[in-house]
Point group: C2
Amino acid sequence: MERIPTHGIEVFLTIVREGSMRAAAAALGVGASAVSLQLKALEDRLGIELFFRTTRSVELTEAGKILFEAAAPAHRDLTYAFKKTREMARSTTGTLRLSLSRGAYMAALAPVLKAFLAENPGIKLEISWDEELVDINRQGFHGGIRMGDALSPDMIAVRITPPIKSVFFAAPSYLQAFGAPEHPRDLLDHQCIRHRHPTSGKLREWRVTEDGQDISIDPPARLIFDSAAGVIQAAREGHGIGWSMKATMADHLKTGELATLLEPFARDLPPFYLYFPKQNKRVECLRLLVNFMKTQLKERQRSNAEIAAER
Amino acid sequence: MERIPTHGIEVFLTIVREGSMRAAAAALGVGASAVSLQLKALEDRLGIELFFRTTRSVELTEAGKILFEAAAPAHRDLTYAFKKTREMARSTTGTLRLSLSRGAYMAALAPVLKAFLAENPGIKLEISWDEELVDINRQGFHGGIRMGDALSPDMIAVRITPPIKSVFFAAPSYLQAFGAPEHPRDLLDHQCIRHRHPTSGKLREWRVTEDGQDISIDPPARLIFDSAAGVIQAAREGHGIGWSMKATMADHLKTGELATLLEPFARDLPPFYLYFPKQNKRVECLRLLVNFMKTQLKERQRSNAEIAAER
DNA sequence: TCCATTGTTTGAAATTACCAAATAATGACT
DNA sequence: AGTCATTATTTGGTAATTTCAAACAATGGA
């Protein structure tokens, strides 16, 4: 396959534009001899001379005119394509497409979303609520948010939240009818509403903490959803006890639709991570989001520490 | 000024087209590592990754898509421009623009024109009859024909005729009135019609040969033209004796409108040369013309030699 | 005729491109 | 789950190209 001496063409076009070889050399930031040799190389590969030259002037030959007329716009387009791509990479405006679960949205993104949008007016977010783990690359997402950092090695994961508070919950109507559990082992005698991971297909373990120790329990379940939203909905309808992130149901706790159970035993879940293919490391919009969330996390941790210190 | 890594872009486009780096490497005729390194260099200069890559597939990132969509047509156009220029150089079709005097046409071009046009059906000739020597380059001519090879050093001159026969001539009416000269020195007593070089501004010397020696004579002239055609026309009208190339007036000799004088003293003029700027050396159409005329010259010389041998 | 300016040549130095082989990683296959 | 063919990447060394600085040559105007 024939290689095109595009570098030579750039030199050629510069000579035409600048009107002389030395001027072209100055414009290109190289010596005059480099330009002369490049032009000669191009002419040799074309098999024809492009300029009539004297020491006082360079003038296009017929072949030179033909090349110039055809190559100048093409080269301009190529320059533009290059510039456009680079600008896109550096741009602080654009659309960022993220894939995340509803829980991730509530716990990780929602608390900072308003501030992020205000601070980065040029960035649009396109958020896909996917309970399942999707293929970030093939689906055209820039990144995603998920719990834990167990990811394929070509992904970069950045922690963006503290560990997540979990709660056991049930509707007041259910508690009236069946009573409230006092200890995790009481759960075995209750109607539990559980959650199945869509990706792995496994039931999510219920984990509690007792005397600083983590224990896994496996209460019976007559209702199983593949989304946390389903679990919460069913609990609101009084079907039983659920376990999930506090953030996803803060509203229902406030209104009294749901009540918290077994608070001393509630265990923290792993923090959320913003993850993305390492190829997207240099997408400026994504970097802005990552940095913003890292900063937010730090600030939250510092204010927490201050609160702790005041006590 | 920023340099565009066009070579890298070529590699990039080939990867997209071929679907993998190794296929691209094969298509480009280089090793796989070269492609990998080129791509990485391009990505570094752009500041962004262009492919999601695994060992089984390469897939464009968003930036890669943008670059591909903009750069592919531009690169195609550039390739086309390059090809077009080369084809133009190699083409055996096209228009050849020549500048020559009427005398050069009659003596050098007219005798072979028909055969040349027949042999090269793709070539069009655009002939400008210029008595003056014009600037071949600036006037857009590919070349010219003139007598003698005294040219600037960046011109190439190729002999295309034998030495040119010259004749003295006058109309029968003039000869009746004033008698015919028997010896060159008789010309000093005749009405001579002379020719002034438009380029140099000098009167053209009349040169005769006597006993193998060249002598220059300077007969009086009441009529001076800046073209040989003018001299001939005036002679036909009976105004006096002219001196010019035989070829330009062969017709008038045949019809008896003009008669030849002083034949034993007629000196050969220098041959005609086809000349052109050395930058046009590789213009294929011009090469065809040059080669054709050189061949014609050789054949004419050989047949002349045969005729001489037969005697 | 001189002279400032410009294109070209030249040999050395710097840069870049490339290769071959080793390495790492993936996805299909058994 | 493990094997295997295939693919991208890294690495160290080599070849090719590009560039520079300086000397040179040539042109056209003063």
